[in-house]
């Protein structure tokens, strides 16, 4: 290579340059993505308006009506202590979405900062950061989350920290690659020639142009975060009773499936599936929309 600073446009840059109106046009041509968006929007509305929608207090128990099958009074039946499962699922959306978005947001900020710095300052410093990130990645995500949650103790906040940790590597890698590609553009060189100090080249010039792939990934991650959160709560390392959380609710009913009270586990389980599916449909769809090879 005679000219080490390559010219031309990389796929990452194409993703960064897709404009707004074009995006909505492509979205309308992607009904599956739109469906995912609607599902997630409904879940968010459900979480926001849970107090208005829930027919019962999600924390109220009544031993007299324990383990009743779905009926008109109790849409999804009642649990072991006579709690209304429908109301708890509505409130559970608050818990699970808050954990998912919280964990993704924390991971995004930390991961992007690490990746941006590692991409801009290649060499020893950047390599050191990436080796630490890869250390996190060497563990299966769930095992890592399990270890962190186990070490910190079960709580809402610790669950967010544990899941955030497992999500940091993917953002760090994405951001690093994105910065590396943008760093070789002429506008990056022009920014230096204009007298920008390095931190300003990175954060004012390169970072805003490197967020495209991050944006797509961020629509995919909450689904996995919900799955991990539910999984950890299921084995008792996440949110604790009496908080309504879907994974915890599945765990509560798991021993009852054999004795015929299927509704206790089934409905929260269904909502986990719906939520994960919704986020995945959005993420996959956006990946297609921004795929330069498809257009």
């Amino acid at each position: 290579m005679a000219e080490p600073l390559t010219e031309g446009t990389t796929p990452v840059q194409v993703a960064n340059r897709a404009s707004g109106s074009e995006f909505w046009y492509l979205l309308r041509k992607n009904p599956v993505t739109l469906f995912g968006l609607i599902v997630v929007a409904l879940l968010i509305l459900m979480a926001l308006f849970a107090p208005l929608l829930a027919p019962y207090d999600p924390y109220a128990t009544d031993p007299r009506i324990s383990l009743q099958p779905p009926s008109q009074e109790h849409l999804f039946g009642t649990g072991i202590w006579g709690e209304d499962i429908f109301s708890r699922i509505l409130y559970g959306a608050r818990q699970d979405l808050a954990i998912a978005f919280g964990a993704v947001a924390v991971a995004l900020v930390i991961g992007c900062l690490l990746g941006a710095v590692a991409g801009y300052w290649e060499g020893f410093f950047g390599e050191a950061i990436m080796r630490v990130v890869e250390l996190l990645q060497a563990f299966p995500a769930f095992i890592l989350a399990l270890a962190i949650a186990g070490a910190l103790g079960p709580s809402f906040r610790n669950l967010i920290i544990a899941i955030a940790f497992t999500n940091v590597p993917i953002y760090a890698h994405l951001m690093r690659v994105s910065i590396l590609s943008n760093k070789r553009s002429q506008y990056a060189m022009a920014a230096i020639a204009s007298g920008n100090p390095h931190w300003r080249v990175l954060f004012r010039h390169l970072l805003p142009n490197s967020l495209g792939p991050i944006f797509i990934q961020s629509t995919l991650q909450p689904g996995y975060a919900i799955l991990t959160a539910a999984g950890l709560s299921f084995i008792g390392l996440g949110v604790r009773l009496p908080e309504p959380e879907w994974g915890l609710m599945v765990a509560m009913g798991s021993s009852r499936i054999i004795s015929g009270e299927w509704w206790v586990s089934l409905f929260p389980g269904l909502f986990i599936i719906i939520a994960v599916m919704g986020f995945n449909l959005i993420g996959d769809g956006l990946q297609d929309i921004f795929d330069p090879h498809r257009n």
Binding site: A2, P4, E7, Y187, M189, A190, S194, G195, P208
Partner: protein, 332 residues
Amino acid sequence: MSNVLEIRGLTKHYPVGGAFARSLLHAADDVSLSIAPGETVGLVGESGSGKSTVGRCILRLEEPTSGEILLNGESVVAATSSRLRVMRANMQMVFQDPYDSLNPRIKVGELVAEPLWLSGIMSRKEADRKVAEVFDLVHLPTDTPLRYAHQLSGGQQQRVGIARALATNPDLVVLDEPTSALDVSVQAQIINLLEEIRQRLSPAYLFISHDLSVVSNLSDRVAVMYLGQIVEVGPTDTIFELPGHPYTRGLISAAPVEHPAQQKERLTLLGEPTSPVDPKPGCRLASRCPFVEPKCREGELPLQEITPGHSVRCRRYVEEHVDGVWDPEPTR
């Protein structure tokens, strides 16, 4: 009068190959060149000759391997990063690809304001006001500063690039193939604009190009580069009328003539450029030169002055020319 730019022995090597087979790509080897205030020097060569590397090293957008670069007598190579930011107000660059050189997410007005306030010449507010004046200089409409690069045509984008480079009224502007990405009609406009600005602000230009005709119109002097070395440098007239180095002769004879009735002798170089990785000693053109002799492949080949200001890096020319005229028979 002291020179705006003084390059002495600039060398830039890139390591290539794996950990066990270390090789060096010689992008620039012992390049020396000076530019007087207000002077335009053309730097020509084919792609891969290292001319852009030289341009980037001058502005320290790349770290030179060795050599000295003086801007108004002050070392660019030794400058601290904070001092360098101040010095950048006096040395600017227009890039080759007008679209890629403008940040797609920042309004072009802000991009043009950056060199003004980042170098500490004026406050950010003053810079924003000054921007209108600079856009007027490059003949762009008054609403242009509020636009993004993708909302402008290629020619307008390059005018923005020129506005950014000239905002601080620098002593030296490196023009890195500023027209090669543009349509022919737009190229002429940009060249005219650069000429007009030279008359108004009299910056020194280092005009990097592979296009001899563009360079000949604008330059006071021309330096020809081949595989990382300057092979010939001299006043534009001398280079075009009495070129010494076979490579320069080849370049000139390859340029299209202005009139179909005009005839000229064609000097064809043989084969492809050789690799700039670990070049062999002796003349780097030896394997392609029609006039090559065994002595061309031996030892270091210095750039030797023929007449004041005209230097050639060719052993046979230096030894055999008579008052600059050398008409050799092809040796193969």
